[in-house]
């Protein structure tokens, strides 16, 4: 399957039809695995990395889940193609920096991606729309068992699966949910929530993981620890916390609607106005404004069929996605102009936001 067919179609998880998808954008579970007898990629020589790759890649390609897959060596991907994959969360930023000796295998539906020779020999992840951590784990667990039959994974009787970084040892699992929390941000409660989440041993990160900024009111919640707890228990604990955050976000939305309906409509309306008429738009600004439109759809300020075009804009306005839509190399200001015109075109037929019909002020339940 050629790379452009992967790049030109959005992944299944972007459709946003999973459970709780108005707040949880996507759920991801990744497992880190290494082979016995080879140094970890960071310490391996080029020929050792190539040997590992030659050993792992055919095993991954022969998985039933990878029957219709795209499999590509890192050196055969352009910088732009890698960046598109990063924006879709199909590869990590670290993996995008790799060349000879690394590869990625993705299934057609873009629900499964397996990086070879990232920080560990294998980083495999399943990604699903909405809150589906258990399903994502089930999928990746099956893939792991199938690969474990063919490959000799480094496993320690006491410490479990061995990883390059000791923070991943044990299960080698990182489960995370991408959450859209505009009302918690607007009502200035989000820092409290983050602190509480940190306190129970979970991590909160920005859009692209460790060390990235929270843009578009998007936050990634994930487990911090990997040793001393079963995979299912880690996921159950994470799920519980995420459900709590959903509850808080919903409460914050309701209370904003009751106490500050004008402020709320004003935020959404201004975002709509700027997006609808701007001629230059940086990607961070676009994300932050689109977040209010998304909130507007959730609250019924826009017709329901506006959801998909808005969700699509979140990803299509990312720098690499914009660049790939045109053949000429864009400078930053040209990119901002193209982004603005793409958004204007997409919003042209969208009606201006209005408070929900027949409902008056929302009632407390």
């Amino acid at each position: 399957m050629p790379i452009h067919s992967i790049l030109s179609t959005a992944g299944e998880w972007l459709r946003g039809d999973g459970p709780q998808s108005h707040i949880v954008i996507s759920s991801r579970v990744r497992l880190a695995r290494n082979l016995n007898g080879f140094p970890f990629p960071g310490h391996a020589k080029k020929n050792e990395r190539v040997s590992v790759l030659e050993c792992i890649k055919p095993a991954v390609e022969s998985l039933p889940e990878m029957a219709e897959a795209h499999s590509v060596f890192s050196q055969d991907l352009s910088a732009l193609e890698k960046q598109v994959l990063v924006e879709r969360h199909l590869i990590s930023r670290d993996h995008a920096a790799k060349g000879m000796g690394s590869a990625v295998v993705m299934n057609k539906r873009q629900t499964l991606s397996i990086m070879i020779n990232e920080e560990d020999h294998l980083r495999m992840q399943a990604i699903r729309s909405g809150l589906q951590l258990k399903n994502a784990f089930k999928l990746i667990d099956k893939v792991d068992s199938e690969l474990g039959d063919k490959l000799d994974f480094a496993f320690h009787n006491q410490y479990g699966y061995l990883t390059a970084c000791p923070t991943n040892v044990g299960t080698g699992m990182r489960a995370s949910a991408m959450m859209h929390l505009p009302a918690l941000v607007l009502s200035e409660q989000v820092n409290q929530v983050i602190q509480a989440v940190n306190k129970v041993g979970l991590a909160v990160r920005g859009l692209y993981g460790e060390g990235t900024e929270a843009m578009g009111n998007l936050f990634q919640i994930s487990n911090q620890t990997t040793l001393g707890e079963k995979e299912e228990d880690i996921i159950a604990r994470l799920n519980k916390v995420i459900e709590q955050i959903i509850l808080h976000e919903n409460n914050a939305r309701q209370s904003l609607q009751q106490k500050k309906p004008i402020t709320l409509l004003d935020n959404v309306g201004r975002a709509f106005g700027i997006l609808r008429y701007a001629h230059s738009m940086a990607s961070k600004e676009a994300l932050n404004l689109l977040s209010y439109l998304k909130l507007g759809v959730d609250l019924g300020f826009f017709p329901e069929d506006c959801q998909l075009p808005i969700d699509e804009l979140f990803i299509e306005t990312q720098p690499a996605h914009l660049q790939k839509s045109t053949s000429q190399k864009l400078q930053a200001d040209e990119r901002d102009a193209l982004r603005a015109s793409l958004i204007r075109a997409r919003l042209e037929k969208m009606p201006a936001p209005t408070p929900k019909q027949n409902e008056g002020p929302a009632k407390a339940e």
């Binding site: 016995n36 960071g42 474990g148 496993f155 479990g160 040892v169 699992m173 040793l227 001393g228």
Partner: protein, 165 residues
């Protein structure tokens, strides 16, 4: 007082963090504090810094072997990268490892998935041990018929293990 990172210049930035009730202190010179991003509070990962430093200090204390026999990775390499060189490093640097992992994780023992093929071996191992125990008991009790049967099952299981490997 010298900087904990370069050990050369005198320290001018002093950091204290309490992790699990244990106080950890890091002293840095101006150059190293900038390099580690201490002056920029948003970009500064105190945990990472402490992790690297603290971990290797713990390891220096206990360990006698300074290099992994399998991949040649040294403690200094770990200190620099915060990563191990290969799977065998976990045994080569075992002594300081526990206290480091204790600070990072919920426990020190893996409770999750075991690779299916190791699981079979583990179950067979347990079965073998049980049969051996029963056999000894049968012999001691002079139940020779039972013992003969147990011996046959043991032989069978051992042969199975050989072909599986």
């Amino acid at each position: 007082m010298n900087c904990d990172v370069c050990k050369k210049k005198s320290a001018s930035v002093f950091l204290t963090q309490i992790v699990d009730g244990k106080m950890q202190k890091v002293n840095l010179c101006e150059g190293c504090s900038k390099e580690k991003g201490v002056t920029d509070p948003t970009g500064f990962a105190l945990a990472d810094l402490l992790l690297g430093l603290g971990a290797s200090q713990e390891m220096e204390k206990g360990s006698t072997t300074s290099r992994c026999p399998s991949c040649g990775f040294s403690q200094a390499d770990f200190k620099k990268t915060g990563r191990f060189g290969c799977a065998a490093c976990y045994d080569a640097f075992a002594e300081g490892l526990e206290s480091m992992l204790k600070g990072m994780h919920k426990g020190l023992e893996h409770k999750g998935k075991v690779p299916p093929r190791l699981l079979k071996a583990k179950l067979r191992d347990e079965e073998l041990k049980k049969l051996q125990r029963d056999l000894r008991k049968a012999v001691a009790d002079e139940k020779y018929e039972v013992a003969a049967e147990l011996r046959d099952r043991l032989k069978h299981l051992e042969a199975e293990g050989q072909t599986a490997i």
